[in-house]
Assembly symmetry: C2
Homo-oligomer: 425 residues x 2
């Protein structure tokens, strides 16, 4: 007997109507997690009767969310059709607005990436109004893709590089954009006008953590820490299978942990922040010689990262020393977080993944040395395979999760000619 | 539309039997959270029909978990009896084993402390076998109290000062006890022999956080961070209403965060750990003059803390400077954690609470300066009112939560003559 995963608040109501909704969700989530299953196996897995499962599957099929799959020939019983997620039944849209680009992805219920887009945009120079006009255009294009697929748009989730009050739907602060207190959800919903689609917002690293949790190399690991290197250092925490958001949704702010009281001044005005030790700027500064292109802000970041990797591969001593030093500071902060959070996997994303071949070892070494629990508390280190696309992927998934949680928000098959809507959401 | 509290794993099965169990739990948790309620109000609050609520209440009463309360005279309708938790229906037992004491508490379903005990024990000098014999005796005494109350023993939870694998029921490491890899749950269950009572184990700071969450001044705050000063610095995190345990249950290890790379060596062999900056030892060292009793390990800690408070109250400059310095380091580490976790409340426990009058302000100042989100992300600072009793309180609650989660583990009223059991658990 062990385990103390207790909750305090009474759980949601479970009357007959919500029981049906909850069972529809249960079946859909099982299919989502396990892939195609026969009704018999679904019954086994959920503990529901076969008759109930058949009725639930029929309703899900009517709503366009599942479909008949291949015939399963098991060891016992009659062969039966498997049931599987119907990808085109619904799509989620994730959009990321960052300092110099807008990116988007459309993901269907089966996890297929239906479309993706990436567009350079000097967001920090334009004001919120002009930028949100552009974001709305990107959302419009994504919604058009969903309509062309005769699918339901389950929602649009916007990922932002800053502190987000997700409940209020506002961006509170985004130093790198120069924005404060922008009611982004209201602004975007207004721009999308009669397209009655749910709009949500969250911090980019939080959504990237969700993306990794749902579609990354460590998908399904309930205790996962994502550390992502972009202009700053971002963090997203999945704890017990849920995104750790904190009381106001500001959780995962790791870039300004003070790790060296005698360290350099940070752009935030404080001293010795993690970003000043393990961020892109200190890496480039340590790696660059005099007049080096690595420090030229007019050269696109990808090109500078490619050049850095090339030098590291060629065995350049200055580059390797810079990577070892930044990797060590990255590992030191990671070890601190691993002590607090005890994740099963630490995913390195953004440019930490790009430079993973040189950063992973120093990070592992610090975890081994500095995590108090034996064997780094069981934490392994993995590189993101989603890279910079993790946040949009997580955003799309947030929209799809609304369908998985309550399949009745999708009313049934739509045709291309019918106006797209979230149908009773 | 906002909020991304999604989960990945399919939720538990909801067939008719588990629905009944879940509704019994729902009603019991509502009464637990709200206090006495009429059946009509319970129906309103849960969304269940009045007939269902009456049937559920009847079953809970039969199991001895609720009872009729005062007559409620509302504005409308006939006056009716309220239903309330029946305290003696079940009791939870929390036991804390620390470096120099064993403490225990028996708490009933209504939150009443039925009994408590505190016993000096040089645990770090005796081996695990002798100490666990003593713990078993304390558990036995607590079980006798429960039996004398004609109550059900819902379980015993042991709080330990170290890394605990709660799933396996083992203490992995406890530097201050000098223990490694002790299968405490098995050892204690064996000593309790035919007393068929569930035994659980967890880290003391985790359980203290649960204690604060359930019975402290900030009870019910879903995002709560507890920092407790004892021999080391302990941390416990409640996130979204659940204890953050991490993949193997090692979460909340905050004492060895490296906050000063140039700092003093720590007992753990590392350098600049938080404990070396905000722990009891650096505080006493900074506050003490030459040959000062504050540094005498033979003087009980309570006496030394009382003396320190006396000096601070008297305005002694050295003492006040030491408290300001330690408070500042405490706040610096707290700010880092508040950035990562965004708690709504930071509870200071253990001797941080005892010395709260002098530590709170420097902590608040650091939060204001160092938390990136505006207004410290909404985090307020409170002193624990449970103090050193928080861990045993949390332990008792973990046992009681098993009943709140599944009231059917209690089979019905017991009499003093019937052997105590967890009846079908």
């Amino acid at each position: 007997m062990a385990g103390t995963g207790v909750t305090y608040a009474p759980r949601p109501v479970a009357d007959q109507l919500s029981l049906r909704r909850s069972n529809l969700s249960l079946v859909l989530r099982h299919l989502d997690a396990s892939g195609p299953l026969s009704r018999a196996r679904l019954a086994q897995a959920t503990g529901l009767t076969k008759a109930t499962v058949s009725s639930l599957v029929a309703e899900l099929a009517e709503r366009g969310l599942v479909r008949e799959g291949d015939v399963e020939r098991g060891a016992v019983g009659r062969p039966g059709h498997q049931v599987q997620m119907n990808g085109p039944g619904a799509c989620g849209i994730g959009i990321e607005l960052n300092v110099d680009y807008v990116a988007s992805v459309v993901v269907d219920l089966a996890g297929r990436v239906v479309a993706s887009d990436h567009l350079a945009l000097p967001a920090s120079r334009l004001g919120p109004d002009a930028v949100l006009d552009e974001v709305a255009r990107v959302a419009d294009a994504a919604l058009a893709v969903v309509a062309a697929e005769s699918s339901h748009a389950a929602g649009v989730t916007l990922a932002l590089p800053g502190g987000v009050d997700a409940t209020e739907g506002t961006l509170t602060y985004a130093p790198n954009l120069g924005w404060r207190e922008v009611a982004v959800v209201a602004a975007l919903a207004e721009r999308l006008g009669d397209r009655d689609v749910p709009v949500r917002v969250d911090n980019e690293a939080n959504l990237a953590a969700l993306g990794e949790y749902r579609a990354g190399a460590a998908a399904g690991t309930p205790d996962l820490l994502l550390l992502t290197g972009e202009v700053g250092v971002g963090g997203g925490v999945i704890s017990g299978g849920r995104l750790l958001r904190g009381g106001r949704g500001y959780g995962g702010e790791v870039g300004h942990m003070q790790l060296d009281p005698h360290g350099d001044e940070c752009g935030c005005g404080r001293r010795g922040c993690w970003e000043t030790l393990a961020g892109l700027t200190p890496l480039m500064r340590a790696a660059a010689g005099p007049g080096d292109d690595l420090l030229d802000p007019t050269v696109p970041l990808e090109h500078r990262l490619t050049e850095l990797s090339r030098r590291a591969e060629a065995g350049d001593a200055r580059t390797l020393a810079a990577l070892a030093q930044v990797g060590s500071w990255l590992g030191l902060g990671a070890a601190l977080l691993v002590n607090v959070l005890n994740p099963t996997v630490l995913v390195l994303g953004g440019y930490f993944a790009t430079l993973g071949p040189w950063l992973t070892e120093p990070v592992r070494r610090q975890l081994t040395e500095r995590v108090v629990a034996p064997g780094a508390g069981g934490c392994r280190v993995q590189l993101s395979t989603l890279g910079f696309a993790a946040a949009v992927r997580g955003g799309a998934q947030v929209a799809l999760d609304a369908v998985l949680d309550d399949p009745t928000i999708v009313s049934g098959p739509v045709t291309a000619s019918r106006p797209m809507s979230t149908a009773g959401a």
